[in-house]
Symmetry: C2
Subunit: 394 residues, 2 copies
C-alpha cells in the first residue's frame, strides 16, 4: 500500500524480532519539526512503563517522534521496564538527532516479559533508515497484535482557506472496552494549535468514538492515544469556528477508526451499534448501553444470529440504573421486536432474524422514561474469540 | 437415583412437553404440613412473573408447595404471564387440596414466550400423582436447563439432641453472576423456625455462597432461592446457639451447591477460586475478586491452561478501586507467580502451568495494603460456552 500520511511527517515499520513470526513489530513516527502533542491514556490502575513515561513527557506539550512496538507490552516489568522505555526513546533520539525528551514510546503485546533490548537496540538504525513520507502502512502493520487488518484513516479539511490533513492509525482487537482510550491510536495532523487546544479536542473526539466501543469489556494497561500537530500547513486552530471545523474532521477520523477496531475485534463477525433512547439521563443511557454491549449471553446470540431479545431485557435490567420494566421497546434496525416489554411475535422475529444475518446492524432500546440517549459499538462473541485468547501466548 | 429428601416432604418431576426433547420439565415440592418460608430473589430490574408473584406471597411467611418448570422463563410475558403463574399455582393448590396462596412458583428457560398453559394444565394431575418422599432426583432433573448434571446436597445436624435434615436442590449453568440469588435453588428442612429467623439465616448463607459465584457475569430475571422449614423434627432454631448450629449446616449445603453450579457452568472445564487478600476494605476486595472472576480474557486463558498472569493484573487494575500498582503478589495454589507486580520467571511459570492443568485450583491476589479479604468462585470460558449460547433457542 502506497499512501502519503501527512505533510511534514515520516513513518516506518520493520521486523525487529519481538514477534515470533517475523512480522513487523517496531514502528516510528517522525515529525520533521517539533509538534504540539496531546494524549489520553488508560485509566487502568496498572499502567505499562511507556504509559508512565509518556504521561510525564507529554506535560511539555511538545513531541517530535513516537516509537511503538508490538509483541511485548513492557508492563509489570518493574524498574527495568521504565529503564527500557527510557533507553528506547534515547536510542531513537540519538539516531534522529533530536532531544531525548521529545520522543514518546508505546508498547502492546504480552504483559510481564522484559522488552528484549538487544533486539530493539539492533533494529533502531534500520527503523530510522526506513523512515518514509509514505511509510504509514508499514507503521500500521508494525503495531498490530491479533488485529487481522491494519487501520488507517486519512481525511482533509479546510481552515480559513488553507487545506489541512489528519491521518490516524490504530490497533485494537482485544482488551477493548470503553473506559478511556482503549487501544493504541496515533493521529498526526499538519495544523497549528497549542497543546491545550489539542488536548481539549482530543478528549472530545475520544469520548465520541474510542470511548464508545467495546470488544470484550477488558481495559488494557497500555491504552494510548496521541495527537501530534506540526503546524506545517499554516492552518491555525484557535477560535471557536476553527475548533468546530477541525473537531468535525478529527471526530470523523476517530469514529471511523473506532468502527474499524470493533469490526476487527478478536473473532468478531458482526459490528453492532447499541442505541439507548429515552433513559432518565445520559449517564443512565450510557450505563445501559455498556451493560448490553458487554453481555456475553447477548454477544453469543449475535454470533448465532439468534434474535434472543430476552437477553437484551435481562442486560437492561441488570445495568444498575432505574428502568420501568413494562415500557421497553426494542428494535433490530427498523424492526420492532419488543413493545412495552412484550415480544411482537413470530412475524417480527422472522424479520429480526434477517437483520441479524447482516454484518452490520443496530439494536435500539427505547425506555420511554426521559431524554437520555447514548450509543455504543460492540461486536459478536464467537468461538474464535475463545480460541484466540486461550492460545494467545503459545 | 433413590434418595430420601427430608422428613415430611414429597417431590416429583415429570415431562410436560415444555422442553423439546421429552426431558423432565415440571417439578413439585410438597410439604405435608404448612411450612415457614423465606426467599431471596433477583435484583435484576426486569423480573419474571413467578418472581413477582412469589415476592408478594412470601410476605405471609407460610408455604406448602412449590411448582417449578424449566424450558420457559415466563418472563417479559406481560399480564398474561402473571395470569399464567397464578393459574399454575391454582391448579396445584386445587389438586393438592391446599389454599392457593400457600403455593409458590418458579420458572427457568427462554425469556419472552408464553407458558404453554394447556401442557401445564394437562400435566399437573400426573405431577401430583408422582409425588414421592424419594422424588428429589426427579425434581432436580425437572429444573435443569443447560445443566449437565442435577445438583442435590443433603446434610444432617443436631439441635439440642434432636436430629434435623437440610436438603438443597439447584440449577444454574448460565446467566450466573454474584448479584443476589443467581439461579433456582430450593432448600427444605424439617426444623422449626419463624419466617423472620429463616430469612436472616438464608440471607447470610446466600451472601456466603451463591453470591460468591460467577459463570458469565449475567444476572437472570428469574433467580430465586427458597427455604422451607416444616417443623416435623421438633428441632427448634430460635436462640443464638441454635442459629449458629443450623447456620453452619445451611452454609455447607449452599456452598456445596454453589461450587457444583460453577463446576457445571456452561462449557466450564475448571473451577477456580479467586481469593483477594490485603485490600483496603472488604468491599474493595470483593470488587476486585468479581472483576477478576469475570474477565473474559483471563477466563479464556484458564481454558487454554495458560498462566497469563498479566491478565490478572490488568483485571485488578480496572476494578475501579485503589490499588498500589507495585506491591501485588499473585499465587496459583501455592506457587508464587508474581511478586511486587513483577513476574517470578520461567521456573515459577512452569510450576503454575502444572496448577492450571488441574480441574480445581485457586488464584490468590495479595495487595498488601490492608485487611480486606474476599473470594469468589468462577470457571473457565470455553469454546463450548459460545457454542451453547449461540444456539440456545434453536
Amino acid at each position: 500500500m502506497e499512501m502519503k500520511s501527512c505533510p511534514g511527517y515520516q513513518m516506518a515499520g520493520i521486523a525487529a524480532g519481538l514477534k515470533k513470526n517475523n512480522a513487523k513489530d517496531l514502528g516510528l513516527i517522525y515529525s520533521e519539526v517539533e509538534a504540539s502533542v496531546a494524549g489520553v491514556f488508560t485509566r487502568n490502575k496498572i499502567q505499562a512503563a511507556p504509559v508512565l513515561l509518556d504521561k510525564e513527557r507529554i506535560k511539555s506539550g511538545v513531541c517530535q517522534a513516537i516509537v511503538a512496538n508490538s509483541g511485548n507490552a513492557n508492563c509489570c516489568t518493574g524498574e527495568k521496564g521504565i529503564q527500557d522505555a527510557l533507553h528506547t526513546a534515547r536510542l531513537a533520539a540519538s539516531g534522529l538527532g533530536i532531544s531525548e525528551d521529545r520522543v514518546l514510546v508505546a508498547s502492546t503485546g504480552v504483559i510481564g516479559e522484559a522488552l528484549p533490548m538487544d533486539k530493539v537496540e539492533g533494529a533502531i538504525p534500520d527503523l530510522i533508515g526506513a523512515l518514509d513520507p509514505n511509510g504509514v502502512a508499514d507503521f500500521a502493520e508494525a503495531i498490530m497484535t491479533t488485529d487481522t487488518v491494519p487501520k488507517i484513516v486519512s481525511r482533509h479539511g479546510e481552515l480559513d482557506g488553507v487545506l489541512f490533513t489528519i491521518t490516524g492509525v490504530a490497533k485494537g482487537a482485544g482488551m477493548i472496552q470503553p473506559d478511556m482510550a482503549t487501544l493504541l491510536c496515533f493521529v498526526i495532523t499538519d495544523i497549528k494549535a497549542k497543546p491545550d487546544k489539542l488536548k481539549e479536542m482530543l478528549r472530545a473526539a475520544t469520548d465520541n468514538s474510542l470511548n464508545r466501543i467495546t470488544i470484550d469489556g477488558d481495559t488494557s494497561t497500555n491504552d494510548t492515544v496521541l495527537l501530534m500537530a506540526n503546524g506545517i500547513s499554516e492552518a491555525l486552530v484557535n477560535d471557536a469556528d476553527q475548533t468546530a471545523t477541525f473537531q468535525a474532521v478529527l471526530d470523523d477520523v476517530l469514529i471511523t477508526l473506532a468502527k474499524q477496531l470493533v469490526k476487527d475485534g478478536e473473532g468478531a463477525t458482526k459490528l453492532v451499534e447499541i442505541v439507548v433512547k429515552g433513559a432518565s439521563s445520559y449517564d443512565d443511557a450510557q450505563q445501559i448501553a455498556n451493560t448490553v454491549a458487554n453481555s456475553n449471553l447477548l454477544k453469543t446470540a449475535f454470533f448465532g444470529e439468534d434474535a434472543n431479545w430476552g437477553r437484551i431485557l435481562m442486560a437492561v435490567g441488570r445495568a444498575g440504573v432505574p428502568v420501568d420494566p413494562d415500557t421497553i421497546d426494542v428494535y433490530f434496525d427498523d424492526v420492532l421486536m419488543v413493545q412495552n416489554s412484550v415480544g411482537c411475535g413470530k412475524a417480527a422475529e422472522n424479520k429480526a432474524t434477517q437483520v441479524l444475518k447482516k454484518s452490520e446492524f443496530n439494536v435500539t432500546i427505547d425506555l420511554k422514561m426521559g431524554n437520555g440517549n447514548a450509543s455504543v459499538f460492540t461486536c459478536d462473541f464467537s468461538v474464535d474469540y475463545v480460541k484466540i485468547n486461550a492460545d494467545y501466548r503459545s
